[in-house]
């Protein structure tokens, strides 16, 4: 059980890291946007297409049986990874965005005019716009849980916002812009006092903290495979079985039906009710391979190490007097957002890229949050367990050059 953390070996598992960008070694600090893929994931997808591919749940022939087994095995692995009660509670989607859209669309039926939906200031656009649309359709009211200057959710304000009319609370577990870790267990507890459903946007959290949906008692949890070292185009909507059973299907077609006549159609059981059409089979297999890979690592040590890199970078950044941190929550994940006096993030990003350093600049799909801090964007470095202190030094060196050029 006592696996050691071996950075050198881990880096060898990620072929993409070993390359030069504009003549410098790549330093990849855009992990919050998407993580890189270990060879195990790439191989799993390749093997699937080379040996096992066919459509799922449809054929009696061997390949179809194999593909179906692999697809369902992936579901089971994911269910275990988040400690779902049964694999019926794991619905495959394209990603977090689609998972939230499924919910905002299918929960509509339970919402009346004047009901209230709560989200927070720090949400990603994908956890804002679907709810706005739901409100337009149903006449419900969108209310915003405020944050403080450190970028922490204000729980006392949440308690004041909660009431009989509150039907849904949808908040992010970890902010992709600020790195704030929200106290979602407490939020869920509070929401349930008012019988409100809780949707958690786990896009960022899934790669940086263990998730136990039963312990959290959350109604719905959503995440994307590509932020968990898996492929793009695959994601998960977790929902408590009794709740998913209550909701209507999201899309209609093949796979999600039980019996179709021209007069009447009955729907399939969970989770297929929510999986119309041929699914992303290779994606699910890739995601399961990512989970297997993560399970082969000392995951808690990986998470610890990411924070060490974060703390080191934070310390190094202090050598610049022109930097203002955006997001200084007491509980943080390995994401650092900052701005530099009068220097536009975009210009810094271009110069860093010329030095091989990949950071994200801009609003990170959180425009209302930018408005709260009265800025147009930030420079964001987000870390993974495959990053090194030398890469952080490369970032700091690049920033020095950028600031010199631009001021």
């Amino acid at each position: 059980m006592n696996k050691a953390f071996n950075l050198e070996n881990i880096r060898k598992d990620f072929p993409i890291l070993d390359q030069e960008i504009n003549g410098s070694p790549l330093a990849y600090f855009d992990n919050a946007a998407s993580t890189q893929k270990p060879k195990a994931v790439i191989d799993a997808i390749k093997n699937y297409y080379e040996q096992d591919h066919s459509n799922v749940h449809r054929g009696v022939h061997t390949l179809s049986v194999r593909a179906t087994e692999l697809y369902e095995e992936s579901r089971t692995k994911i269910a275990k990874f988040i400690n779902a009660n049964t694999s019926n509670e794991v619905v495959f989607t394209r990603g977090t965005t689609e998972s939230i859209n499924v919910l905002a669309s299918t929960l509509s039926g339970l919402i009346k005019q004047g009901d209230e939906i709560l989200i927070s200031t720090m949400e990603h656009h994908s956890n804002i716009v679907p709810w706005q649309e739901l409100c337009i359709r149903t006449g419900a009211i969108l209310k915003i849980i405020p944050i403080n200057k450190l970028g922490e959710l204000q729980l006392d304000s949440l308690e004041k916002l909660l009431g009989k009319k509150t039907k849904i609370i949808s908040v992010t577990h970890i902010s992709n812009t600020l790195g704030t870790i929200n106290p979602i267990k407490k939020i869920i507890e509070l929401a349930h006092l008012y019988n409100a459903y809780v949707v958690i946007d786990g896009a960022q959290a899934i790669a940086h903290t263990p998730i136990d949906v039963q312990d959290l008692d959350c109604d719905f949890y959503t995440f994307s495979g590509h932020k968990l070292y898996g492929p793009t185009g695959i994601g998960v909507l977790y929902g408590k079985e009794n709740l998913l059973n209550k909701l209507p299907p999201y899309q209609f077609g093949g796979e999600m039906i039980l019996k179709v006549t021209f007069e009447n159609t009955s729907y399939n059981s969970l989770p297929y009710k929510f999986e119309a059409g041929t699914p992303n089979i290779a994606g699910s297999i890739g995601l399961a391979a990512a989970i297997d890979y993560l399970n082969s690592l000392p995951l808690n040590l990986c998470h610890q190490y990411e924070m060490e890199i974060h703390d080191y970078a934070l310390d190094q950044l202090k050598s610049f007097s022109n930097i203002r941190l955006i997001g200084e929550s007491h509980k943080k994940s390995p994401i650092i957002s900052f701005i530099a006096n009068d220097i536009h993030p975009h210009d810094v990003g271009t110069i860093l890229n010329q030095k091989g350093v990949a950071v994200r600049t801009g609003h990170h799909c959180t425009m209302p949050l930018m408005e709260f801090f009265n800025i147009s964007g930030t420079i964001r470095a987000s870390f993974s367990f495959y990053n090194t202190k030398n890469e952080v030094k490369q970032l700091i060196g690049g920033l020095g050059i950028a600031f010199k050029m631009l001021s």
């Binding site: 536009h344 975009h346 210009d347 271009t350 010329q354 801009g362 930018m370 147009s376 050029m405 631009l406």
Partner: protein
């Protein structure tokens, strides 16, 4: 220092980016448009007015990166004092140069060919193009309003 970077952030660009010409909102203007780059959140407001000779006076306000600000600043110095028709021609030549060919091949002033450095940075072409496209929008939309 990196050649491509030097070309992108050459001294004229940096100078215009940090100390833009014709910056601000006039009391009175004939045409206005707001430009927005959803990728990075940059904003540009363009104000056009025409004097009694129908020559353009153009100013802008922006929250934007060096490339976008410099491009806007250079644009105002180029478009100031010419007719609307000529201005649209020049705008189209620049936008075409940024998106398709190179600015060097166009009959443009030396100042404007400086924006060519941006072509080495595909992700930044939008930054340079935004003020020009916004001015075009201001001019065209005001015509449709009049009709």
């Amino acid at each position: 220092m990196d050649k491509k970077l030097q070309l992108l952030y050459q001294s004229t660009i940096l100078e215009h980016g940090q100390d833009p010409r014709n910056f601000g909102k006039p009391d009175r203007y004939d045409e206005f448009a707001e430009g927005f780059n959803p990728l990075c959140g940059d904003k540009v407001n363009i104000y056009c007015k025409y004097n009694f000779n129908l020559e353009l006076e153009i100013t802008f306000e922006s929250v934007s990166c060096v490339i976008c600000t410099a491009s806007a600043s250079l644009m105002t110095t180029e478009l100031g004092g010419i007719s609307k028709g000529k201005a649209i021609e020049l705008i189209d030549a620049v936008l075409d140069g940024l998106h398709c060919s190179t600015l060097n091949q166009k009959p443009l002033s030396k100042q404007l060919t400086m924006l060519d450095g941006v072509k080495e940075f595909p992700s930044r072409i939008q930054c340079a193009a935004l003020p020009w496209a916004t001015t075009r929008k201001a001019m065209i939309e005001s015509e449709t309003r009049l009709e």
